[in-house]
C-alpha cells in the first residue's frame, strides 16, 4: 500500500500579514503544522512494520523542506515538495489544483490530511483535492482502519458519531483527537536527511503558471484592518443586582 500525507509548513510564532502583498508573511521561521503531525502519525501507525510506503507531500517555499524532514524524521519514507515562485499566493482553487497534480503522480491508495492549517485556519482543502482526484473523501476521522481494499472511519459531527466506509483509493482528513503524534527519535532525525526528497516545479507537474499563484486564484484579499472593538462592551459594578444584570444581558443576546 502507499499512503500520501499532505503537510503544510506554517510560520512559527505570532503570525503577521505583509501589508504590501496582503499575504501571510512566510519569510521567517516555520514549522510543520501541528495538525498535520496527526496525519503523519496515523499514516505511520497504519504502516506499522509493513512495507507500506508513506510519502509526505507539501506545497510551499523551499523552506517547507524543514517540515517535510520532520515528517521523514517521524518515519515517513519519502518527501515531495511542490515549490515554485509562481505558486505563491495560491488560494483554495489553485492550491487544490497543484496538490492534486502532485498526488496524481503518486497514485497513493490513501491520501491523508490534518484537520486544519494552524496559520490560515483553513479546514477545507481535502474536499477540493478529492474532487479533483475524483476520489471519495471523509473528514474529521477520529478512528481509522484499512481492510480489504476499503477504509473504515469513525468520525464526529455536530449530531453524534458516524461510521463510514469508502473504497480505496480515498482521501481522509483526520481530527487531532485520532492520536498523539510521536516525537522523532534521534536516529530518525539523523536518518531523515538521507531519505529521498524531491522538489517539483510547476513545469514538472505540467501545470501552467497561469493556473497557479494569484493568477490561478479566484479569491483576493482587498484590505486588512484591526478587529472591531467589542461593539457594545459594558462594565458594571457587582452589586446585589449583578446576577440579574448578567441574565438580562444574556437574554438580550438570546444566549439563555
Amino acid at each position: 500500500m502507499k499512503i500520501a500525507v499532505c503537510v503544510k509548513h506554517v510560520p512559527e510564532g505570532p503570525g503577521r500579514i505583509d501589508p504590501s502583498t496582503k499575504r501571510l508573511d512566510r519569510s521567517g521561521e516555520g514549522a510543520l503544522n501541528h495538525f498535520d503531525a496527526n496525519a503523519v502519525e496515523e499514516a505511520l501507525r497504519l504502516k506499522g512494520d509493513s512495507n507500506t510506503e508513506v510519502v509526505a507531500v507539501s506545497l510551499g517555499p523551499q523552506k517547507a523542506l524543514d517540515s517535510l524532514r520532520k515528517a521523514l524524521a517521524m518515519g515517513a519514507d519519502r518527501a515531495v515538495l511542490v515549490s515554485d515562485d509562481a505558486a505563491g499566493g495560491s488560494d483554495l482553487v489553485a492550491t487544490s489544483r497543484l496538490l492534486a497534480a502532485a498526488l496524481e503522480k503518486e497514485e497513493a491508495d490513501l491520501v491523508l490530511f490534518g484537520q486544519q492549517a494552524s496559520d490560515a485556519d483553513g479546514a477545507v482543502l481535502w474536499a477540493a483535492v478529492a474532487e479533483r482526484l475524483r476520489r471519495p473523501v471523509v473528514s474529521q476521522a477520529m478512528e481509522l482502519s484499512v481492510e480489504g481494499g476499503s477504509v473504515r472511519v469513525k468520525r464526529q459531527t455536530e449530531f453524534g458519531y458516524d461510521t463510514l466506509e469508502a473504497p480505496l483509493p480515498a482521501v481522509v482528513a483526520v481530527s487531532d483527537a485520532i492520536n498523539e503524534p510521536r516525537y522523532p527519535s534521534l536516529k530518525g532525525i539523523m536518518g531523515a536527511k538521507k531519505k529521498p526528497q524531491d522538489v517539483l516545479s510547476l513545469g514538472d507537474l505540467g501545470v501552467d503558471a497561469g493556473e497557479a499563484g494569484e493568477a490561478g486564484s479566484r479569491t483576493t484579499v482587498l484590505a486588512l484592518g484591526d478587529p472591531p472593538a467589542r461593539a457594545d462592551a459594558r462594565k458594571i459594578e457587582g452589586d446585589g443586582n449583578a446576577a440579574q444584570a448578567i441574565v438580562d444581558f444574556l437574554a438580550e443576546k438570546r444566549l439563555v
Binding site: 521567517g28 521561521e29 498523539e180 516525537y183 527519535s185 534521534l186
Partner: protein, 563 residues
C-alpha cells in the same frame, strides 16, 4: 538575614554523570559531539568542517557523522539572546577569505555612540569610558547570527540535532565519552505518555560543551573533574526587548545610574543598552548584577521603568514591542574561569566557561574564538588518533596564548570593585582600564550571588503599571518570547520550596518570566513557593540565586528570532 544559599535545592550534579546505559549497538556514534548551537558551538563545528575538508582522511575515520551538534531549543538561535554589539575579529578569523563581514546577517557597524548617566528625569552625557567604545564593532541579532552560522555549519557537514537536551554526561573510566539526551513525552508526575520517547546515548571521541551561560553539563563537569576556578562564578541578569520604531536611532547608547540605586548596601551594578537594528528597529535592554540584595528587585520591571524615562520614551515613541527575552551573563571574569578548560575527552567553550569581558559588555567574540580553538585542539587529537587524558591540553595552551586570556586578565578586578558602590567603583574601573590593568587594587573575594544577605524594600511599589503599549507585565513578555512550552511535563527547576518569605519574594521578583510565586504560609514563618515551570525562558538566574535550572524536554522554552 536570610541568604538564598542557606536553602539549597534538592540537586546533586553526581546524578547527572553516568556510564553509557544503552546497549552498545544502540548507541549513536559520532566523531565530535558539540553541545549547544550558539556562537561557540557553531564556530567549533564550522572550523571542524574546514579542517575536515582539508583532511578528508580524518573525517572518514570518524564514521557517518564526524560532527554532531545538540541544541535544546526549537532550532539554532531559539535560545540565543545578546545585546549584541560584536567585536568582529573572531568572525573574521573564523571565515578568513570565505566570507566578508557584510555577507553576515548584521545591522552594520556601530555608527556612533553615546553614554549617559541617568537620573529619574535627566540624562547627563559623559564621554564613553574606554571599555565602552565601540568604534569598529558590528550590531547583530545573536539569534539571527546563530541561524546563519547553523546553516554554514550544516554546509560544512555538521549534523545539527535541535529540540534535544543534553541531560547527562557520559563518563567511562574517568573519561567523557559523550552525553545522554533527555527523555521526551513524560507527564508532569514523570510517567510515560503515549508518545514517550526515551533519550539516547550519543558517544563521541571528543565532547565539546558550548552550552552558554549556566550550562547544565558544564556545571556537572566542573564538579566531576574539579575544574572550578579560583573564585566562584557570579552572574548578571539581562532583560531585553526589540522594538519596531517610527524613526531610526542613529547611535548605540549605554546608560548608567537610574533606575538602579547607587547606595553601597544595595549592590546594584549594571546599566542599559539601546542599539539600533537597522532603520526601523531598536533593541533596549537592562543588565543587573545578581549579587544584588533587595528581594523586591525585578530586572523585568526595572526595564519597564527605564522605558518611561523621557529620553528613552522619545526613542520608542510610536513604536511597538516585537520581541522580548532574558538571559544571564557570567561576570566573574578572569578569576572565575575554570582551572582547566579541558578534561579527558572534554572541552569547555564560551560563556559556559565564563569567557565574558564585563566592562566591555562583550563575549560573543570570545565564544567564537574559543569554539574555533576547541575545534583545532580536537582535530589535532583526532588526527593523531590520540586518546590519553592530556590529548586535549593544547586547547588550554591555545586559549592562554589568545586575546581571550589577555583581555580578561586586563580587566580581572573590574567586576569586584563595583561592590564598593557605583561611583567609587566606576572611578576605579576607569583607572584600571586606562592603565591596561597595571593598577593593582588588591583582588577582592567574589562571593557567590546566592550568599548575599537579603534585604526587603518597597521598591516594587514604584514599578510602572503595565499599559500594554510602553510597559508590559511578565506574562505578556513571556508570550513575546515565543515560549509555548508543553505544560504537562515534569518540572525542570530545582528549588527548596519551603523558604522564608523574603527568599520566596526574591525569586518571584527576580524571575522575568513569572515562574515563581509566593504561595501559602506554612505556619512556621516559612512559605511555600509555587512554580509554573512552563513559563521558564531558561535565563539561569535561579541557579545564581540559590536554585538550579536543569534542561526541560527538548524544544521547550523561548523561540527567539530577533533577540
Amino acid at each position: 538575614m536570610s541568604r538564598p544559599s542557606n536553602f539549597p535545592p534538592p540537586f546533586s550534579t553526581a546524578g547527572y554523570v553516568t556510564e553509557p546505559t544503552d546497549p552498545a549497538d544502540e548507541r549513536i556514534e559520532v566523531g565530535v559531539l558539540v553541545v549547544g548551537a550558539g556562537p561557540a558551538g557553531l564556530a567549533c563545528a564550522i572550523r571542524l568542517g574546514q579542517l575536515f575538508e582539508e583532511h578528508p582522511d580524518v573525517a572518514e575515520r570518524l564514521g557517518d557523522v564526524p560532527v554532531a551538534l545538540l541544541e535544546k531549543g526549537k532550532q539554532p538561535g531559539s535560545h540565543l539572546l545578546s545585546g549584541a554589539v560584536v567585536d568582529p575579529r573572531a568572525l573574521r578569523r573564523l571565515f578568513g577569505d570565505r566570507l566578508r563581514m557584510d555577507e553576515l546577517p548584521s545591522f552594520g557597524p556601530v555608527p556612533a555612540e553615546s553614554v549617559y548617566v541617568l537620573t529619574r528625569s535627566a540624562a547627563l552625557p559623559i564621554p564613553p569610558p574606554p571599555p565602552m567604545r565601540n568604534h569598529g564593532n558590528w550590531i547583530f541579532s545573536l539569534s539571527q547570527l546563530g541561524r546563519f552560522l547553523a546553516e554554514r555549519a550544516e554546509e560544512a557537514g555538521a549534523m545539527i540535532l535541535p529540540e534535544t537536551a543534553a541531560q547527562k554526561l557520559l563518563v567511562s573510566h574517568g573519561r567523557v565519552v559523550g552525553v545522554r539526551t533527555g527523555d521526551k513525552g513524560r507527564s508532569r508526575e514523570g510517567g510515560e505518555l503515549g508518545n514517550f520517547e526515551a533519550g539516547s546515548d550519543i558517544v563521541a571521541k571528543v565532547t565539546v560543551l558550548a552550552e552558554g551561560t549556566q550550562g547544565h553539563l558544564t556545571g556537572v563537569a566542573l564538579d566531576r573533574f574539579a575544574l572550578h576556578g579560583e573564585d566562584p562564578q557570579v552572574w548578571e541578569l539581562g532583560v531585553k526587548e526589540v522594538w519596531k520604531v517610527a524613526k531610526p536611532l542613529d547611535r548605540v547608547i549605554h546608560t548608567m545610574g537610574w533606575p538602579l540605586r547607587t547606595g553601597k548596601r544595595y549592590r546594584e551594578f549594571g546599566g542599559s543598552f539601546i542599539y539600533p537594528m537597522g532603520k526601523n528597529m531598536v533593541t533596549i535592554g537592562l543588565v543587573v548584577g545578581l549579587d544584588y540584595r533587595d528581594a523586591s528587585l525585578s530586572v523585568h520591571d526595572l526595564l519597564q521603568e527605564l522605558k518611561t524615562h523621557p529620553k528613552i520614551r522619545r526613542i520608542l515613541a510610536g513604536g511597538e514591542r516585537v520581541a522580548w527575552g532574558a538571559k544571564t551573563i557570567p561576570s566573574g571574569g578572569f578569576h572565575s574561569l575554570p582551572s582547566r578548560l579541558h578534561a579527558p575527552g572534554l572541552l569547555l567553550c564560551g560563556d559556559g566557561a565564563g569567557m565574558v569581558n564585563i566592562p566591555r559588555l562583550k563575549g560573543v567574540h570570545y565564544a567564537i574564538e574559543s569554539g574555533r580553538l576547541a575545534a583545532e585542539a580536537a582535530f589535532r587529537a583526532l588526527q593523531r588518533g590520540e586518546t590519553p587524558a592530556s590529548a586535549l591540553s593544547s586547547y588550554d595552551d591555545a586559549v592562554r596564548d589568545s586575546y581571550i586570556w589577555e583581555d580578561l586578565y586586563e580587566v580581572r578586578n573590574m567586576r569586584q570593585v563595583f561592590g564598593r558602590g557605583f561611583f567609587v567603583g566606576g572611578a576605579l574601573a576607569s583607572a584600571m582600564t586606562m592603565s591596561k590593568g597595571r593598577v593593582e587594587l588588591g583582588k577582592m573575594r567574589a562571593e557567590p550571588d546566592a550568599d548575599q544577605p537579603l534585604l526587603v524594600t518597597d521598591r516594587d511599589a514604584g514599578y510602572p503599571a503595565p499599559d500594554g503599549q510602553l510597559t508590559f507585565d511578565k506574562l505578556s513578555s513571556v508570550f513575546a518570547s515565543g515560549n509555548k512550552t508543553r505544560d504537562d511535563q515534569p518540572n525542570h527547576i530545582r528549588i527548596e520550596r519551603r523558604v522564608p518569605r523574603e527568599v520566596a519574594q526574591l525569586w518571584a521578583h527576580m524571575c522575568p518570566a513569572q515562574v515563581y510565586e509566593v504561595g501559602a504560609e506554612e505556619g512556621d514563618g516559612t512559605v511555600l513557593v509555587d512554580v509554573a515551570p512552563s513559563n521558564c525562558v531558561q535565563c539561569g538566574a535561579i541557579t545564581a540565586k540559590g536554585g538550579r535550572l536543569t534542561p526541560p524536554e527538548g524544544g521547550s522554552g523561548p523561540e527567539y528570532t530577533l533577540t
